[in-house]
Symmetry: C2
Subunit: 225 residues, 2 copies
């Protein structure tokens, strides 16, 4: 957990209890009580919103080391989204009440926690901007850059995204159809900007992608999934 000092993270660890969940499980669904936070020790979680027509919109992908969950002023706060396990998980669950006591007691931790919250908010805001401003190609390029920042592993002078992803999943992340994603990716492959095999994508020309979404070189901690 890079956003907290070792001492502060230890305090958080102390109020977590462990929960295991298998791929396909839901940690929570829309409308469930939002009285917990979740720290991903192992595995992956996808935060989604179902539309009336059966399609779904994917807001976040959380991986090992990510913390997520709501903090708000409501007594009986409800989840607006669902959390689906994408890879078998070991989760550290934090009760909001326990967290509040802890934060109340430790000012330094509270400050770090707030900065983490601010960071997450900026991540949401910039993603929002990226999906609104430069059409579906801009949205897809932003997505690829974020994926490569979150899951990228350098291979030679390219970056491979070590997260198996389908055209349909990408489509749900940018509010497009899988056919559109497919066509855009094919075009970008022709331009030698990306390459892909078996759901694994390699970024060959990041500058090409950055140009399309008018990337502003935000800090990497914000430009994530």
């Amino acid at each position: 957990m890079k956003y907290f000092s070792a001492a502060n993270f230890e305090k958080l660890q102390n109020i977590m209890y462990v929960k295991h969940a298998a791929k396909g499980d839901f940690l929570f669904r829309e409308g469930d009580s939002a009285d917990k936070l979740f720290y991903v020790r192992k595995g992956g979680v996808r935060i989604t919103k179902l539309s009336e027509s059966g399609r779904s919109f994917i807001l976040y992908l959380h991986q090992e080391g990510d913390l997520f969950g709501q903090m708000d002023p409501f007594q009986d706060s409800l989840q607006s989204f669902s959390a689906e396990v994408t890879a078998d998980c070991e989760i550290g669950v934090i009760q909001r009440k326990d967290l509040e006591v802890l934060l109340w007691q430790h000012g330094e931790l509270a400050i770090e926690f707030m900065k983490w919250m601010g960071l997450m908010h900026r991540m949401t805001e910039t993603k929002f901007r990226d999906l609104m401003m430069y059409g579906k190609p801009g949205a897809l390029c932003s997505l690829l850059i974020r994926l490569s920042n979150s899951y990228g592993a350098p291979t030679g002078d390219h970056v491979r995204i070590n997260y198996k992803i389908s055209n349909a999943e990408m489509a749900d992340m940018i509010g497009a159809t899988r056919e559109s994603v497919n066509r855009m990716l094919s075009d970008m492959k022709k331009e030698d900007a990306v390459d892909f095999h078996n759901g694994l994508i390699t970024i060959k020309n990041p500058a090409y992608l950055r140009d399309i979404c008018h990337c502003e070189n935000c800090p990497l901690d914000i430009c994530r999934m």
Copy 2:
């Protein structure tokens, strides 16, 4: 400021200094240092993002009683958006450093502050969802509902939005063109769901709007501009 107890808000007031700004001024622009928070004592502020092509995207409208600004872990945090004054302002400016000291000292205030941050984040997330999920009509209906929650005044059994707004401004809030907004509004007027004169909109049939954006009746504190 409804999100803080009187005692805690007083503490915040004590570290504010007053700044006046006239309509059209910018409190900050994209790229400026983000080392302050802003409390709107009087007036209004619009948070925007300029696109390459000269159009702009409006993320938030802040009014009297709203607090805004970034808290994140960066030493030299930069603004991602601009803040344009829409009505002559009296602003309470808070230096982030001062705020940090205050929050460090007062656990109870820190907790309230975090809950406020969580609330703002949820507002962004739900707005994001509304603009992505049900096309431009869904986005416009969500916007009208949020405007009526933020600026609405009941007149008879209708709600009038006491904020003068043009079709172009609404378009910039939902990523559409002013022509599209105009046509959608005309249609809704025909359906007797809304009415408008001189930039002032009246909601005559909120249920009609809620249906189009698949409103989930979020708490009013989240469903705002």
